[in-house]
Symmetry: C2
Subunit: 224 residues, 2 copies
């Protein structure tokens, strides 16, 4: 059996909604996890809170640029409005690394209405900014933060993974497994617009059915 | 308990992939079902085949226009390339009725790559053609034909329903239940682009994982 790989993962913009839950689950799975934020102090504060939950000092906090410098895998969890400016400042640093984009092209305030930006998706924009030496994978947008942070419980959904680089998608699939979900290859990066916009559909379902975190599962696959 | 309603359902373009499976399940559930086709003879031939499967003469075949004339609920299952021309010929006939659009904006030959047309979705185009007196609901795109036609077996997926008319969505939800699935309110018609394009994602999953019919299920909802 191949030895399990451990990555140094920078969760950029990781002090928001989705970042902390991913960070804490990846740290528990044995990865070296860094929370990145605009301000190092804020990153350190959130890292300290997560370490307290974990009962161990596993997660570090750094400014986004420093976090991007030391990582193998960058995971972007900023609001859509902040994505492009941040990626422009990180473009040189991220060359040769992998970006997993969790950011969704939402259009506030009506975030339960599907919005497809002219560029297609946040992930396609990220790929255009970073260039071909940084494979971008779209994933983890549809996993409720609520479920991720509840570390005593399994996460009841699949993670759909879009991208144009097979190896990068395989790493995202490993990381999906590490948070207790099933990673499913959902095709090329051009399909990210469907995966991202599903987030709006799920937000609407949460509101309409008064539930904290709808997710999706693919049926018809053999059990793994 | 309210009495169960029975509808006269015209499955327009119902001789293709998706129509026969829906028709046979709705007929079994007690609805009056008509297969519509460009040619009445073809519609009658497919209806006869389905009646043979059912062991009862429940389904009729008519030309699309006649089927649309007699129905309460029209269900559109034509290829995207044929949709707009057909709807233009049925516009007058359908006034005051409900259209459930199963048609997906696919762009052959690469149908596993997501394609969002300039108009957003096939369903939004249908609404624009038919006008405000015909509520359009987008639904049933993601239920594999393979599963529908296997009438001895339950269909293992949910049906996401988008539309701007509550009553129309409620009828679509009843019809989802009648094929053995759970109908879920997926928001306004503008969200149809996500539901339709999920079809491309599922086609890709079928190819990649060598399965006959991937579907989707929403997690996090209370069991009903």
């Amino acid at each position: 059996m191949a030895e399990k790989k451990h990555y140094t993962i920078a969760v950029l913009g990781g002090t928001g909604n989705e970042g902390p839950g991913l960070a804490i689950r990846w740290a528990k799975a044995g990865h070296n996890v860094i929370i990145g934020s605009r301000k190092e102090e804020k990153a350190q504060r959130v890292a300290a809170e997560l370490n307290e939950k974990l009962g161990e000092d596993l997660i570090k906090g750094l400014a986004n640029l420093e976090a991007a410098q030391v990582c193998d895998v960058a995971v972007l969890t900023v609001p859509y409005s902040a994505q492009n400016a941040l990626l422009a400042t990180l473009r040189d640093t991220l060359q040769g690394k992998l970006l997993i984009n969790v950011t969704v092209a939402l259009k506030p305030p009506k975030v339960a209405r599907v919005y497809i930006p002219p560029e297609g998706s946040a992930a396609e924009q990220a790929q255009a900014i970073l260039g071909p030496a940084v494979p971008v994978v779209a994933a983890f947008q549809n996993v409720g933060a609520h479920h991720l942070e509840d570390i005593g419980h399994p996460v009841d959904c699949d993670v759909l993974i879009c991208g144009d680089d097979k190896e990068a998608k395989a790493i995202a699939a490993e990381l999906a497994q590490d948070i207790g979900t099933r990673g499913i290859d959902a095709g090329p990066l051009i399909n990210a617009k469907t995966i991202e916009s599903l987030t709006s559909v799920l937000i609407g379902i949460n509101i309409r059915y008064k539930i904290p975190g709808a997710g999706i599962r693919i049926t018809g696959l053999p059990e793994v």
